[in-house]
């Protein structure tokens, strides 16, 4: 029997049994991995598929998380109903972050600008205590739907799993479509893409908005998972985590984003007691990956079996 990509469905099905095997702390780490799968998938759209260096991802993540938390605490909307709005707010932030790109700002100019944007957002979490709780942070009440309270890590796991599956399937459909091909054409050569009548500006906005939407949902999940948001959670250590996920996994690869999230998220939990160690380690890991494995672990997997090759990456 020839293997097809439908075997990937075995992964979430097998994962259904996971809560039987792990204790609550490990379940928390697994949930965190699911959050970062979403974040990695969203981040990879802009960096890996569109090929733009943008540092705004932590801003989208934070905006999504705070949007979800603020809707819950200030407006009393249950968490469930804030997931999509958090994504929408993230998408709006994504559109805002793509405005300079529309003006022709590229490469490191875009990188610097999005870095400034991200730092500005972190500053504003601290400076608007009425909304965000300032540097004290913001406590998010547990999610609730029709009286069913989402308290245990196991309950969160099943909800997150559904969200992750929906997002991964949706993003893979989008990346395999005309839109995904347009992203790749811009990554390879933007002038050539424009010459082939690809409306590059429109796809820039689309890629940033899509990335903002997905990462915003990741932020909303993060808010539900940790229950307490503080501005320090959205600093540059968070950013190196996001970069490490997509670099180690493989730039532009959906398989890579998932793989990277699984590998990278679990490790800092082992090194909690030594602040600085994760920065040092992720820095070294990224250096090694750039020098010796520029296409990440996904390229190794693709060599093992073609089933792991992302269908939209046809260069090799």
């Amino acid at each position: 029997m020839k293997l097809t990509r439908s075997v990937f469905w075995l992964l979430p099905i097998a994962a259904l049994a996971l809560p039987l095997l792990v204790n609550p702390y490990h379940q928390y780490v697994v949930n965190l991995i699911l959050v970062y799968v979403v974040v990695g998938v969203g981040f990879n759209i802009v960096v890996g598929n569109l090929g733009q260096l943008a540092f705004s991802n932590v801003a989208f993540f934070g905006i999504g998380a705070y949007a979800s938390a603020i809707f819950t605490t200030q407006l009393g909307i249950p968490w469930w109903l804030t997931v999509i709005p958090a994504g929408v707010v993230g998408a709006i932030a994504g559109c805002a972050a793509s405005i300079p790109a529309l003006r022709g700002v590229r490469l490191f100019y875009l990188a610097i600008m999005t870095l400034a944007f991200g730092e500005l957002m972190r500053w504003s979490y601290i400076r608007t205590p009425a909304l965000t709780g300032g540097s004290m942070g913001l406590t998010v009440p547990p999610a609730e739907l029709f009286g069913w309270v989402l308290e245990s890590e196991t309950q969160k796991f099943y909800v997150f799993l559904v969200i992750v599956v929906v997002i991964v399937v949706a993003v893979s459909r989008i990346l395999e479509s005309r839109i995904g091909r347009a992203f790749l054409s811009i990554k390879n050569d933007e002038r050539a893409a424009a010459a082939m009548a690809v409306p590059t500006g429109r796809y820039f906005v689309l890629a940033f908005a899509l990335s903002g939407f997905v990462v915003g949902i990741g932020g909303s999940m993060y808010a539900a998972l940790v229950g307490h948001l503080s501005p320090e959670a959205f600093d540059l250590v968070q950013l190196i985590l996001h970069f490490a996920i997509i670099m180690v996994g493989g730039l532009g690869s959906l398989v890579g984003s998932i793989l990277g999230a699984v590998l990278i998220t679990a490790t800092p939990e082992l090194f909690r007691d030594w602040p600085g160690f994760e920065e040092l380690m992720f820095g070294i890991v990224i250096v090694i990956v750039i020098l010796f494995l520029p296409r990440g672990l996904a390229s190794l997997l693709a060599r093992v079996h073609p089933i792991f090759k992302d269908r939209y990456l046809r260069e090799d």
Binding site: V105, A116, E279
Partner: protein
Amino acid sequence: MLSLLPQLLVSGIAIGMLYALIALSMTILYRATTVVNFGHGDLVMAGAYMVLIFMVNVTLPFLPALLLSLAALFGFGYLLHRAFIWPIINGPHLGLAMMAIAIGYAVRGLVRLEYGSEMAKMPRPFEEQFFFAFNTVMTLDEITFCVVVVVMLVVSYLVFSRTRFGRIVQAMFQTQRGASLVGINVRLFNNLIWGVGCALGALGGVMLGLILVLDPDAGVWTLLRGFAAMTLGGFGSLHGAVIGGLIIGVLEKVLGTYVSTAFIDITCYLVIIVVLLVRPRGLFGQHATLRI
């Protein structure tokens, strides 16, 4: 209120001198290799930490500690380019930028591992003093900033325009391929330029250490101010970086006093965003945007 203005100008220019030095050191790297060193802020702070280490742990006096620190950062910059940047110099920009970021993070992590939980303060080489003139106050720190940076500017101007090394570097600023065609060892000179750039940045970091409590995260603080100065002055312009730095320094003080203290923190972010939106080439830069 307006009577404060001369004072704000004086202190703004003094701190702007530091931003100018840091922006200048980044511009030199950028002009030589067209690589924007996103890890530069961390290397700048590493300069201050090296002085701290040499003075406290090795108990050297300030001057030898400073020289050793600059030498260490020169060596680090040299090796950084040789071992990590040069092998991928022809690769995509994304990889180069990521490399610089990753190295910056590794340096920051190393610093945090050692000093993360304590407030590290660099020992002062001299006592703080105040001078009054024309209704303004200047601290000895501020005078030091101005003198050191002006001297460094004059020295680098002379080096660039009068020495053989400077002319080779200018040739490489124009075209690396052309430079290699006339027999210049491009790799060696790029290594040297990275060494010089890092040492220059470290000098800025040591002076920052006089006024700041050292913090592993101060690297980003420094990096963004350097970027703001470069963006405002125009990327790749040497005099633009200096003038941009001075303007940012003054702007921080003026906006911070007359509008809101919040502006002290966010002036550099706003400058970056506004300049790139309104006039991406900055004051003196070349074309910066892609027009299709």
